[in-house]
Symmetry: C3
Subunit: 359 residues, 3 copies
């Protein structure tokens, strides 16, 4: 009933290049890091069931076939051919690839080639700052090099991303640290850091976010399991400065994210990753996001990493959910079909094309 | 299936007296103050779509006609005739009008006449206190005049309202400030204030809320974008004192508001404004409110301001949502039809009639 | 469509042994302690309507008959016969009975006999510590006796429960207090305490939770009206120590509880009590819990206390909700029927059998 355009995936990662066994595959279905509880498996989750719903048919198997059978077929085809078959069926026109994750993942160009799509880079701020620290001798040099590195990254990429926004005290102090405060923090951090050590100083993290805001590119903020309401002060402080803020991964706080997108002109809300994680519930979660957010402020993403199956699941769940929710509103007379079609295009691709200047 | 009684709108505002262009009209569809983001419009929101669903037919146009066409028809009829047509079709028996907003809005008597309904006044506390400050020379005079003004307002109005409850530190200190503390706060505030300046001192705001509690009228608390859980301590401290608390505008925190209404005998939850803002999702939001709140503790309102269209949308969305949700439960055997009819009457009008003594 | 196995109720209480009048019965339908608001009744809640839906037919009356008629029939049969009829129709195989509530409630053996089911005890930590305090003369004796009492309770029971987790500062300090800190807190508390006085010292409460974690049994944490996100730090600190944490009574925070169950291998989420309280909305609430929690991490409970009707309502609402939600996903092709049947068994009984070692 609603024609679904090809998607712009505004936040994803590359896929693994190596063959995977059942256990390694399963590990990528759960939250990163933690193993499944004894007696349980990550296949028994909405994500696991969604993979078994959408992916086996793309490799010539029946939906919901057992995991071991699916993995056997995957190995039979090989990781490269599996990746191509899955990615090319996902209906993605453009990937915005966050390259800041560790691990042997394909980069934007390789993902684009495998998918027959376009790809652009998103630069993650924390690893960028850590690389700068590895080659900067003093606090002053570090701060100067950091600004330069962020400005250089703004030229080659379409956006920045950060995972530390909920952890750097923005709820208490939204403003940028002063020059002296940043310098002292840099001195302390460099002194206790060994090469490769993570950026964990709240003052420096805040300083880094503000440099990125100054660079004018959209800034994607991962809110993890925190309520994005903690970012309301930062949103107020950055209003009118020219950089858009994009709230990522809000579930179960997607309604708060949608409300912030309604309250601040420069704040946008992501909705794809929440849908990918909730599987059979994707239409319900999508409908909740559509309550308070203006329709021009919502952006599709997959948040997929490592497995091409996660790219497929996110896109399939999103398309099915959007068609179901908007279709029901049209049938009910709440929306016109013309409006529904227009809003589908906005969320699927047009909003991202405008915000990231992809046109 | 469920007969819907005429409504008591327990919290609304007057409408504008001036003709509106497309841009001015659109501004009233968004959150107050912020403009729409570049490349977007507030017509592309649930509120905007709901206006285009419910209002054009009342002015002789087809549903979902383009905004420009609707605005042209509106100007053709004139603002007064448009207001009468819209308001008289909204099915409101009684308006409780919060007169504390700035701008050239119709008062209770004018709204009642345009709508062929009754109207009562709700006095907003903050502007009342600011008027008192404009004419009080000393801290002592201010505090004495303030108590007198609140008591006088309690005689002519049916309730008080306040927008500062989430901002005056109630989560930390629920109790009223002591006499000396209030006096020092009044002295400090008056000394730094110029005429017309806003009441922004947390101690005085807390003092003001407690004077209102003492006056015995229901006290409506706008919680804005905050979780009303921050008011749990204030609810506990005011239990049994005789004044009811009514939590307004809870979305997306409507479930927390409903839970508080269940936990405290003197706490009530509003549900109309959340429905008006969520349009096609109104039935789902209403159903969530009906989970934890006792049915005798829920009150319809529109929260409408400036545009008579918002009065229409709130009432239409509420009636459609209530009919759909309760009707489905009756069909399912979960509720009896008799109970559903009775609960519809309670939420639409009877609870408000009891709480505000409108009988 | 989905066969529903007999349930393991992982958290409930006994029932009253005395005949009840209309008012006493009604009091048990509301939140404990608070009376209904003037002009309202706790029968006008989802719980009240659910009791009138499910229970009258079990006593030979029509569904939704008036409360007075139901109470008359209840008295006619007598409290013991009423209890047997209701409990035996609830489809419970095993009760885990939290014996820490005051009042004249049946114990595990009596509940098992009335229901023709099995029952095991859950020991609530706070009353246990208060009993130890009643018979310990010094801080040192109290701390030594407390450890011994918890270890003894771990032998005779299947789990511990606690109601103080959200109130003992775990969000700020997740770690166990040091030996000296616990000793000073015990000294202060014993000095100001009279016999029977409640354990309300945050340091001692934290100490108590950590002793229970050390005993290796599952620890059920009531989160009351708090967001279980405040327990994330405690969950991180107790990971890998061998004791599982079970989050109870999450509504309206059930989604946060589900997310924590997905993030930590040793954290589980309860879902029965939220369903019992939300009546006609139980299927919707259940569906939300199923978004983010792995299916092996969800446990049915009733949370029922005092009235056998609450045991019936929880079990009936749960079975109806589970059948409806999973059935719809199977019809939609989102889940296979085999998977749906398997997940139903896991949540209804198998997960609890594994976690509490009931096999």
């Amino acid at each position: 009933m609603i024609d679904m355009p090809r998607l712009v995936d505004q936040s994803c990662h590359g896929v693994l290049r190596t063959e995977l066994g059942l256990g390694t595959f399963e590990a990528h279905l759960g939250p990163s890091g933690a193993p499944p509880a004894s007696g349980t498996t990550f296949f028994d989750t909405q994500t696991g069931f969604a993979v078994r719903r959408w992916c086996p048919p793309l490799l010539g198997l029946e939906p919901h076939c057992p995991p071991a059978r699916y993995l056997a077929r995957r190995r039979e085809l090989g990781v490269a051919e599996t990746g191509r078959r899955l990615l090319r069926s996902a209906g993605i026109a453009t990937y915005l690839v966050d390259t800041g994750l560790p691990g042997d993942l394909t980069g934007p160009a390789e993902l684009a080639a495998a998918s027959r799509a376009r790809a652009h880079e998103i630069v993650r701020l924390e690893p960028l700052a850590e690389q700068v620290a590895d080659t900067s001798g003093t606090a002053d040099a570090f701060l100067a090099n950091l600004t330069e590195a962020v400005q250089a990254a703004a030229v080659r990429s379409v956006a920045f991303s950060s995972v530390s926004a909920p952890r750097c005290g923005l709820a208490a102090v939204a403003e940028p640290p002063g020059r002296g405060e940043a310098r002292r923090a840099a001195g302390r951090w460099l002194a206790r850091r060994t090469a490769g050590g993570p950026l964990d100083d709240p003052v420096l993290l805040r300083h880094l976010l503000w440099i990125a805001v100054g660079a004018g590119r959209p800034l994607q903020l991962h809110t993890g399991d925190r309520d994005p309401a903690v970012l309301a002060g930062f949103a107020a402080a950055t209003a009118g400065l020219g950089a858009d803020l994009v709230l990522l991964h809000g579930s179960p706080h997607h309604r708060t994210a949608a409300r912030l997108a309604g309250a601040f002109p420069h704040v946008y809300a992501d909705l794809g990753a929440a849908l990918a994680a909730t599987g059979a519930r994707a239409a319900d979660v999508l409908a909740e996001v559509l309550e308070l957010a203006p329709f021009g402020k919502l952006l599709y993403s997959s948040g997929a990493r490592a497995l091409p199956e996660l790219h497929v699941v996110a896109a399939s769940a999103f398309r099915a959910a959007l068609g179901r929710v908007l279709g029901a509103w049209v049938l009910d007379g709440a929306w016109s079909r013309t409006d529904a079609q227009r809003v589908a295009g906005m969320i699927a691709a047009d909003n991202a094309t405008r915000v990231y200047r992809l046109g």
